[in-house]
């Protein structure tokens, strides 16, 4: 038998693969073969390490060394120096040991426990980290009621955004009458800027299958469906491989582990409709129809997929199930706040230094996530807001960085937990423009079933467009509020009920920015081009004519070595002169 003395783990998440991590792996393997070390050093592709900003990432065990931004050309030096001579390659280091890296220091990984640790394409790797032990324990020593009792006792809430108690959902489905029941995993992660579900499915697909089987046993279902975005090809591929392996090992299929319990899982691909993340729309889509929501009640636990009782949970929710079964309800409920238990995964993105996936205990201070873990705002700019909850959420201003991250506190700010996207914005981001961006998204994605959502959001978008072009009035702001409230009350599903949130929350926290657009015809962030005004500062202008020669209109006049002037009526506000000026003599306001 070969004795592997060293493991090199290369990140195989979508972010790193896009930066050629597959080529890095191939180069490392080639280099190792060249030195005849293939029997003692193993190179493995793993799931996402979370630190996407510094990808591609290579981690070396047992030395516990963390290399960042590795390119295929670095393979030679990594093998020559680290593998052969035992000398750490300083230039590729981020910190001394991974536990010292601030990005990881305050994290607590439960849902992401195996991401970046195991090869997601090998069931043996998963089994070696206690994989399928929870399923074994459930099938051999627990009744369905006991399983539900443990999940209820843990206080786990739905991680898709609503936070509905998972145990209660299972209990309702278990109690519903019916011979056929379903378990659905909602992997239709459509919230732009959120990628935690994708990373879990790519990095640890078996943990989801195991949890779905446990859910099936608890509610009395023999069939599971994973509804996943077609835009996530790598996750689909790895999940399908995992299903095939689990079936071959007898961990999915008939009479699992010799018990009377049978459970199969199939994959259904989405087709790019955000509304299908809503549970009843998703079920209509699985049934081969348009993804329009149904009226609730009846709830899916009674009348779900094919009108049968159905328990539907999000990917991250499922990722928490096995550790809860193995470690007990008290262990899990001991983490987090009084009402929000456990951890939450967030996708940090936008104008932040450390873009990536982070998992923290509920109740952490928002500012700690952004500054201690996220490394603060990029390029020394000042923090303006953080958007949570995607198109259903809102913007939280700098004055509220002290709030605790849990379901209740986030709702109080007018935002919400949502699936866990956290987009950081700086002084250059215009809040009116951001609200408009989100509304454009919901207008596009509204299924059209409810009039307030279909038409109301469109009207709100028109008003916002007008404001960003300088044609807004103060009455418009009142109308935005009215419309927003009506759409929230009168829409059938979560999409419509939350669509106005980005507008209402920015109106609440950044009213002065809206006012500036309307009253002063000015965009304080300088993002709304039609409100910009470029002028030449006479004292600074050296008359080099560079601006006049670059102007595409042209609208800049002036003789060589004399002060230039911009004819405002002709200016198209392209900003080229502003960028070209060698002495910063052009002012943008």
């Amino acid at each position: 038998m070969n004795r592997i003395r060293m493991h090199m783990l290369v990140c195989g998440g979508t972010g790193c693969v896009s930066c050629d991590s597959t080529e890095v792996k191939d180069a490392l393997v080639r280099e190792i073969m060249e030195h005849g070390l293939e029997n003692e050093v193993q190179v493995t592709i793993t799931g996402c390490f979370g630190f996407c900003e510094k990808g591609p990432i290579v981690k070396v065990y047992p030395d516990n060394v963390f290399y960042v931004r590795v390119s295929p050309d670095d393979a030679k030096i990594l093998v020559g120096e680290h593998v052969i001579k035992g000398r750490v390659v300083e230039k590729l280091l981020y910190g001394d040991t991974p536990s010292d890296i601030p990005f990881y220091k305050k994290q607590m990984r439960i849902a992401l426990r195996n991401c970046g640790l195991i090869d997601p394409e090998k069931i043996e790797d998963y089994i070696s980290v206690d994989g399928y032990e929870a399923l074994g324990r459930v099938l051999t020593g627990m009744t369905p009621q006991q399983v539900i009792g443990v999940i209820k006792g843990s206080g786990l809430g739905g991680r898709g955004g609503g936070g509905f108690p998972t145990g209660l959902k299972w209990e309702l489905t278990a109690k519903a009458a019916g011979d056929k029941k379903y378990v659905i995993c909602n992997a239709d992660e459509g919230d732009p800027g959120a990628f935690m579900d994708r990373s879990i499915l790519e990095g640890d697909p078996h943990s989801i299958l195991e949890a779905m089987a446990i859910a099936g046993y608890a509610v009395g279902a023999d069939e599971g469906v994973v509804y996943i975005r077609a835009e996530y090809p790598l996750a689909v591929e790895r999940l399908q491989k995992a299903i095939n392996q689990a079936e071959a090992f007898g961990l999915l299929g008939d009479h699992i582990l010799g018990s009377d319990f049978s459970f199969r899982v199939g994959i259904n691909l989405g087709a790019g409709a955000f509304v299908c993340g809503e549970e009843t729309s998703l079920m209509n889509s699985v049934q081969g129809g348009r993804g329009e929501p149904r009226i609730k009640p009846p709830f899916p636990s009674e009348t779900g997929l094919w009108s049968k009782p159905t328990s539907i949970n999000n990917v991250e929710t499922f990722a928490n199930i096995c550790p809860i079964i193995l470690n007990g309800a008290e262990w899990f409920s001991g983490i987090g706040t009084e009402k929000s238990k456990g951890t939450k995964v967030f996708a940090l993105a936008g104008k932040i230094n450390n873009v990536g996936l982070v998992e923290v205990p509920m109740g952490m201070r928002l500012g700690d996530i952004i500054y201690s873990i996220g490394g603060g705002v990029r390029g020394g700019k000042s923090f303006k807001a953080v958007q949570t909850g995607g198109p259903s959420g809102g913007c939280i201003p700098a004055s509220m960085l002290d709030i605790s991250i849990d379901y209740e506190s986030l709702s109080e700010t007018g935002s919400m937990m949502g699936s866990g996207g956290m987009i950081v914005m700086d002084e250059d981001d215009c809040m009116v423009n951001i609200a408009k961006f989100y509304l454009e998204f919901t207008v596009d994605e509204s299924c059209g079933k409810c009039t307030p959502c279909r038409i109301g959001n469109r009207r709100m978008h028109e008003i916002l467009s007008r404001i960003t072009k300088g044609g807004g009035t103060l009455d418009d702001l009142e109308q935005l509020k009215d419309l927003g409230e009506i759409i929230k009350i009168c829409s059938l599903c979560g999409l419509g009920q939350t669509a106005p949130n980005p507008v209402l929350s920015t109106l609440h926290h950044f009213y002065d920015e809206y006012e500036a657009h309307i009253v002063d015809k000015r965009c304080p962030a300088g993002a709304c081009t039609e409100l910009l005004r470029y002028t030449i500062i006479a004292e600074k202008c050296i008359g080099c004519t560079l601006c006049a020669r670059s102007c595409p209109v042209p609208c800049i006049s002036g003789e060589r070595k004399k002060v230039h002037d911009i004819i405002q009526e002709k200016c198209i506000k392209c900003g080229i002169c502003y960028k070209k000026c060698p002495v910063d003599a052009i002012e943008r306001k």
Partner: protein, 168 residues
């Protein structure tokens, strides 16, 4: 290039026949058909309706509901500019605008020579690399407007060199 009924490959029928039931199979069949033809023209939609014994109106209703399905052919090189929030705040709009002017087409359009099509996409989940552009599935990260010309050039050269069909 309209597809006539005779051009419908037997592969689609083989796929339909391989399915266990007729319930809820419309989406997988449409995914398969789009994989085979690159888009879903009316002739293909009608054929699917007939084979699954459902109204053509239902097929059309489903096809047009989902943005992933398209009823018009795409270019040989499918350029997608991510307009997810993370990319948006890192100025993806400017990148999209540059592609529009460089290719001379709008988002959702295809160039006259069928070489390029341009789409605005919602989040590929590579937010660490924002702003992101993908061409036939190859991802370009941290794209600046000035990189656009080079990317287009790269595919113009490829387009001239070989003529193999590119699929997703």
């Amino acid at each position: 290039m309209p597809l006539d009924a005779s051009a419908i490959s037997p592969e689609l029928d083989i796929f339909i026949d391989s399915l266990d039931s007729r319930d809820g199979v419309l989406m997988p069949v449409l995914h398969k058909a789009q994989e085979l033809y690159g888009y879903l023209p009316v002739t293909v939609q009608n054929h699917i309706a007939e084979r699954l014994k459902i109204p053509a109106a239902k097929v059309f209703g489903v096809v047009t509901f989902y943005s992933f399905f398209c009823t018009a052919p795409k270019g040989k090189f499918k350029v997608s500019v991510c307009m997810g929030t993370a990319c948006f705040v890192r100025d993806a709009q400017a990148v999209l605008e540059r592609f529009k002017s460089q290719l001379g087409i709008g988002a959702g359009e295809v160039s006259g020579d069928m070489m390029f099509s341009l789409d605005a996409l919602r989040c590929v989940g590579a937010c660490g690399l924002a702003p992101v552009v993908s061409v036939n599935g190859k991802v370009y990260g941290r794209v600046a407007p000035d990189d656009v010309e080079g990317i287009v050039e790269e595919y113009l050269v490829k387009g001239g060199q070989n003529d193999e069909r590119h699929k997703d």
